[in-house]
């Protein structure tokens, strides 16, 4: 019933020793040996983050600086717009924006955060994609940018309603930041990059810190009794309740941003009729889906019983039909809702909130309702 493969080739983040000292239960994730939970367990870690503050090591993610060869940040922004459907030029200095790398078919190669640091752009990409992303940037942007990967930086997320007060003790500038502000800041006297953002639906911060200072900064944050270390298990249940996509599951190269219900992330300037319409990989198919709609859509799903409906479960229009109409891409138990939650893809005809469908779990058809996301209201400080 239980097994664990030992994978000696796993990489370690700068906080690996601290995870072990804190009693982290380590599992392989995206090539790294990462804590899936600590002694408190996934349920308590999840609830603590929503009620107080949770600290997450996300140092496995890729951090990359895009430095314009011309010296003008706008040139780096214009260059990056070839690879993403977002308006990068409009990101003001000190702000960041959610984006996706698209391929020629309109599929999503990865999703990322892009910050304007004034002199250059700072991007954060998913761990499992970071080598491909860096190669993609080098292949396509080297005319305009120096692509500088930053492997010697750790990344710490501090999330929850008490994140602000906890970080304020080490960074007096933190409380004045708004959701999606991102800039270099001193934290405990250390030169960090701080953004007010995260992956839980809660208020919070993500702090990029030089690797040699990562453990000291983490320990300083953990001295606050409001702050507990949180593993990847609760990170996943928190982001699922917040309706946020997990790359490689809810979005991938076979799904477009329109199918993925990410239209909100594509600004008017890049859509048909906009000032810089198109001009990104996959623009033809993505812009035509904006006009004509996509055949399927990512939706929130609330199973009507107590049984979790997990990734891979087939979705059916009714209790007896033999042909599936969709599939669950993420699913589990939402501790804040105290109920199962999921997301998946359905034909647009069935994608309206309130629609009833069925998920097949262990040979049984379970009633599932299409639901608006997020499942738990966002708590961002705008």
């Amino acid at each position: 019933m239980l097994a664990r493969d030992d994978q000696p080739s796993l990489q370690r983040t700068p906080l690996h020793a601290l995870h072990l000292a804190l009693g982290g239960k380590m599992v392989p994730f995206a090539g790294y040996d990462m804590p899936v939970q600590y002694a408190a367990g996934v349920l308590r870690e999840h609830l603590h983050t929503r009620a107080s503050a949770g600290l997450f090591d996300v140092s496995h993610m890729g951090q990359i600086a895009l430095r314009p060869k011309s010296g003008k940040a706008e040139d780096a922004a214009l260059a990056l717009e070839r690879l993403v459907p977002q308006d990068i030029v409009a990101i003001a200095p000190g702000r960041q924006r959610y984006a996706q790398f698209t391929n020629e078919a309109g599929g999503i190669l990865d999703d990322l955060m892009v910050a304007n640091f004034g002199s250059h752009l700072f991007v954060v990409v998913n761990a499992a994609c970071k080598a491909e992303d860096e190669a993609h940037l080098r292949a396509n942007l080297s005319d305009a940018c120096v692509i500088e990967s930053l492997p010697d930086r750790a990344l710490i997320a501090l999330q929850g309603p008490k994140a602000e007060s906890a970080l304020a003790k080490l960074c007096a500038d933190a409380p004045a930041m708004r959701f999606m502000d991102s800039a270099p800041r001193k934290v405990s006297g250390i030169d960090c990059f701080v953004s007010r953002s995260g992956y839980t639906g809660e208020d919070g911060f993500e702090i990029s810190v030089p690797a040699e200072h990562a453990a000291a900064l983490t320990n300083a944050l953990l001295t606050d009794p409001d702050v507990l270390p949180i593993g990847l298990g609760a990170r996943d249940s928190l982001r699922l309740e917040a309706g946020l996509c997990l790359y490689g599951h809810d979005i991938d190269t076979t799904t477009t941003p329109v199918e993925g219900a990410l239209e909100w992330s594509i600004q008017k300037s890049r859509r048909a009729g906009g000032a810089r319409a198109g001009g990104f990989a996959g623009a033809d198919s993505i812009l035509s889906q904006f006009e004509q709609g996509a055949a399927r859509r990512r939706v929130g799903l609330t199973p009507q019983g107590r049984a979790p409906v997990r990734e891979g479960a087939a979705l059916f229009a009714d209790a007896t039909s033999s042909d599936p109409i969709g599939r669950v891409t993420s699913g589990g138990f939402g501790p804040t809702l105290n109920a199962p939650v999921a997301m998946g893809y359905l034909p647009t005809s069935h994608a309206r909130a309130g629609s009833s469908v069925f998920a097949e779990v262990r040979g049984q058809r379970l009633a599932v309702q299409v639901a608006a996301m997020p499942f738990v209201p966002n708590n961002y400080k705008r």
């Binding site: 239980l2 349920l43 999840h46 049984a307 997990r310 589990g332 138990f333 262990r362």
Partner: protein, 121 residues
């Protein structure tokens, strides 16, 4: 009354020709917070090693296997109502189901408490 254990971290309490089945404390510690339990129907005939019940934590679903062949004679409805009993009392209140033992010779390959303690050490 004898308690026996399987490689799959299940326990069987033998009383006459009835076995009560649950998962061990070691299993619950590995599973984490249990949020859902599905039990077999009373009257179902189970073959040894057949998936009989499901236990789900926040993260994952795991099968509980029939450790022996036999018919399900009783299930623990209290466990369905309160799955967290698996974490708080795996060896007691969190029993899953009771089976009528079809073939007592199947008990011979199972571990006693001392052997199971070595198995999980």
């Amino acid at each position: 009354m004898t308690t026996l254990f399987t490689d799959d971290h299940e326990w069987l309490r033998i009383e006459g020709d009835v076995a009560t089945i649950g998962v061990t404390d070691y299993a619950q510690s590995q599973l984490g917070d249990v949020v859902f339990v599905e039990l077999p129907k009373v009257g179902r005939s189970l073959k040894k090693a057949e998936a009989a019940a499901v236990v789900e934590s926040v993260k994952a679903a795991s099968d509980v296997y029939a450790p022996i062949t036999g018919e399900v004679v009783e299930i623990n409805d209290a466990l369905v109502a309160e799955p967290a009993l698996v974490n708080s009392d795996a060896g007691g209140k969190a029993w899953f189901f009771k089976m009528k033992i079809a073939d007592k010779s199947q008990l011979e390959g199972l571990m006693d408490e001392a052997a199971y303690a070595k198995h999980t050490a």
